[in-house]
Symmetry: C2
Subunit: 232 residues, 2 copies
Amino acid sequence: MRPEQPARGPRPSFSRARLTEAAIRIADAEGLDALSMRRVAAEIGSGTMSLYRYVSSKDDLIDLMSDAVAPEFFPPSTDVTGDWRADVRALAVCNRQAMLRHPWLTKSPATRQSAGPNRVRLMEDSLGLVDGLGLSMDAMLNVMGAIAAYVNGFVSAELAEAEARRRTGMDLMQWMASQASFIESLLRTGDYPLFSRMVTEAGRELTDPDERFAFGLDRLLDGIAATLPPAP
Amino acid sequence: MRPEQPARGPRPSFSRARLTEAAIRIADAEGLDALSMRRVAAEIGSGTMSLYRYVSSKDDLIDLMSDAVAPEFFPPSTDVTGDWRADVRALAVCNRQAMLRHPWLTKSPATRQSAGPNRVRLMEDSLGLVDGLGLSMDAMLNVMGAIAAYVNGFVSAELAEAEARRRTGMDLMQWMASQASFIESLLRTGDYPLFSRMVTEAGRELTDPDERFAFGLDRLLDGIAATLPPAP
DNA sequence: TGAAAACTGGGTACAGCGTACCCTGTTTCC
DNA sequence: GGAAACAGGGTACGCTGTACCCAGTTTTCA
């Protein structure tokens, strides 16, 4: 499976890229659980084991998938203004949207971060947004790492809720209603005043995921901005 | 599998709690991939299918596991001072440590958040840390949600790196050295100045995970504190 | 005091998974 | 033309979750 272009022998019928594309299509539409080698083979019309001429393992395939979608994580150049805060914010928003488009990314087996060239490019461009602010490289990595951690954590929770909704066919409120007797028995004990308030009061404001995402992101940016060395 | 105490028939040989405990032990030590129903059955010395008298599915078991470790997520009462900022910070630190103790939590299949009684208790107590600050319930949920997102995202990245290190047997620097020829070919293009700086400069300061965690956490707390209504 | 009901543990079996291994056919080089 | 290097793909193995069934045990009721 090794070389991209074999020196001898028949021309390969497929390509790593085509295989990766098919795998992404399946994972996007049906989730990572539905992604199997047999399924990918069926999708591109090859034998199952033939895939191993192109990738060395399923994990390798997932690495390729991750790298393939990496370009979606950087906002279009028209959105990059040169103002670090606006740009980092746009990056975070763009990252969230890309992760929502490819929910399997949050559950993909942990591999080394900067696996492929696209990810290196993404890291380069992302770091570029906070370059020239008088930060050391470690400080820059800390800033971008904190942003990435928040975005990742938020989207993971968002996707977990979406998946639960899909699986049970109920949204949070419907699910709570179905658990009413259990919840009410808790409330009657009087030991859960805040949980009780949550059940009755939550959802009056800021229920839009976009706004909830923005809240934490802007607080984090506020905090980062306050520690930045003064602009020259 | 339904009732905890059967009305008729023989006394159950095990208990849901014992089963859950065994499963947690396996998952802590060998990861979620090593957790199979057959493995759990072998651990407690029962037949595989007997487990289904106690849990309705493997996902159900994982739900029980999550709920069982929930108490570890709240700091001991001696650490709760009444100062919201110190307390939320202690909660975040405690959450991180608990997640590091149980790495499978970050990959456990997405189920409804507040599944069991321990998780409800945790939510109640966590919300209690930001009660009385003049925040609406939705604002409180936003604050705690942002903190949880950051902690979750940070620990996920931390565990992913740890797992990659364990799998390849190399830490980040060793791995980079092994990829040296690829990396150097990138650097020679001159298109990756910041990535290049990262390779040469990173790690001079703040490489301690605890400090990196604290950096983002404190920035987030800074930002949140700034939006809080003035204390009475 | 049986008989029936409700439960227990556990074995068998099935569909699906990743992938090691092997065979056959095609292309290219010497 | 022979050999080497490759292509595609079939078979098979050990693993997974779990549906289903059966035999044994305890309790309840006539």
